[in-house]
Symmetry: C2
Subunit: 324 residues, 2 copies
């Protein structure tokens, strides 16, 4: 039985609690999304007509760049204007190390008492690869619940996280001085899609150099309109954060005036549909032939992965009418 | 037409060149694997009966930890014993930044002249998510070609890279002193599966602390047998590398004596089959209904991703006999 139903909370009650932005209902809905609860599909389907109003911002960058501090500061600034803020921290940290839970608790102590803020770490237990799916479902959830701004924080390396970053409206890449060549490895796939660059901890030595490095890398791009701004911040003291928020607002306006927002949300739908199709094919194969036993035999027979995949795919009848 | 065929190199010739470890044939085969060339399936199927002999080592860790230097040093040590060494650097760096190509060239200058070493960066152009698939195919390729050791180097964050690390025989996690709490974010999902820990740049301040931190994190694990060793190295001067190689050999022996090698290779097959199934379902959907046009309409109709995915999945007839 699903966790939501085990506690006697049905879909209708859950939807009601979400509409009222009740923390317990929202938290339960996120857990249900993470756990691939059977209620999940229905939940997202019912919420979907209400989505589209939130400004979805991705904050990404290497560990230690100060993403959490920037997110918290932005949240405080937005709260001063009575904007409702949802924060999702995409955290690939494993249950074993428990990093996410600790960090989450510390942050909760500061923001949890404000009913206008919902904050949550996203993690997936068990099945890997579902983190992007779960995070994008959670964005829908908070959007439908009426949060004005949704800040999605992620380390931004790897498929799941790149998927998430490709699905937000505005992407902020946070770096710090002195990262040197290491930034090459971190920014993989993110550099091209970042809309705003931030050099945080700008009171440290090397911040001008870091800005110049970014300018140089950006100048290699033949044309990007608008040119992404590069900002310096010292998030721990709140310096540069109002400017960042201004730039985010400017970017959001541009998105809406240019048709770019629609283009981005269309690619968000595409990525989500693709991920769901991948999830479904594995479920179907397992139901029809039993994945474990089939793989056991294939391994014993030293069968190659391509032959096994072809056989399994045909077994679920997924060849379709027009396939050769 | 596929690149391999365009240059008049058929499957048989390619297989012949691979068996003789001709650099051109190997490089072409890797490109064909990366590009999802139609010849790819046949290639892996034909090579598969010859695989299984190589020792496949994953070297992972944050940017700047010195993974490449460790890999190069290990390769040199192995070459002194006339072992054939294949090196695959999993590189999610985008074509835009071009970091991988540069790094590759510098390394090639040192090792390229040795015919007993094959070195290659793995990257995927276009379709994301295929990096794990391509890398594991390339491991098969080098294994079948007769390389004794295959060293797979990866930053080790994100789904694709974690997938790769889960598919090697022995996993080495490289860290460095002074990483502090940042290691929490880097080691995501890797800590639990690392077989050997290395604190590189151990001549820097804080190396004892780094070892203690690792020991503490490992002590949280209830039982792991064998307990993963923690080694200090200064790879730039070759210090600690012979010890690392000894430990790797010891781990390889344990894998073979314990049945663990078989367990790991079974899960490698599983992951690869799953990835191929995911690839296939998207291809099938696109053939049958045309993914672009369907998504265009779905977006215009504000249809939710779950409904779209269900409709598309049913369209390719992938419901299978026993699905409800």
């Amino acid at each position: 039985m699903s966790p939501a139903r085990r506690r006697g909370l049905g879909l209708e009650e859950l939807l009601e609690g979400i509409a009222e932005r009740k923390t317990r209902a929202l938290a339960r809905a996120v857990s249900l999304i993470e756990d691939q609860d059977p209620l999940r599909d229905q939940l997202i389907r019912r919420l979907y007509p209400s989505i589209g109003g939130a400004r979805v911002i991705g904050i990404t960058g290497p560990p230690g760049a100060g993403k959490s501090t920037i997110v918290d500061r932005l949240a405080h600034l937005l709260r001063q204007e009575d904007q409702l803020v949802g924060i999702l921290a995409v955290d690939p940290t494993s249950p074993f190390t428990g990093g996410s839970i600790l960090g989450d608790r510390i942050r909760m102590q500061r923001l949890y008492t404000d009913p206008g803020v919902f904050i949550r770490s996203m993690a997936t237990r068990g099945a890997m690869g579902g983190l992007a799916r779960a995070t994008l479902d959670a964005v829908d959830l908070l959007d439908a619940a009426g949060y004005d701004w949704i800040l999605v924080e992620t380390v931004g390396v790897g498929q799941d996280e790149v998927d998430v970053v490709r699905c937000v409206d505005s992407v902020v890449l946070v770096t710090l001085p002195g990262l040197g060549d290491d930034i090459q490895a971190i920014k993989a796939g993110i550099m091209e899609i970042a809309d705003l660059f931030v050099v945080n901890k700008a009171d440290r030595e090397g911040s001008d150099r870091a800005v110049r490095d970014l300018e140089m890398v950006l100048s290699l791009e033949e044309s990007r309109d608008p040119r992404p701004p590069i900002l310096k911040t010292v998030a721990s003291r709140g310096e540069g954060l109002p400017q960042l928020l201004d730039e985010l607002r400017r970017h959001q306006e541009w998105l809406r005036s240019d048709g770019e927002l629609e283009r981005r949300r269309r690619s968000r739908l595409r990525l989500r549909v693709e991920n769901l199709l991948k999830e479904r094919v594995l479920v179907a194969v397992d139901r029809v032939v039993g994945l474990d036993s089939t793989l056991e035999r294939a391994f014993a027979d030293h069968e190659d992965p391509y032959s096994v995949a072809e056989r399994l795919f045909n077994a679920v009848g997924a060849s379709g009418p027009r396939e050769e």
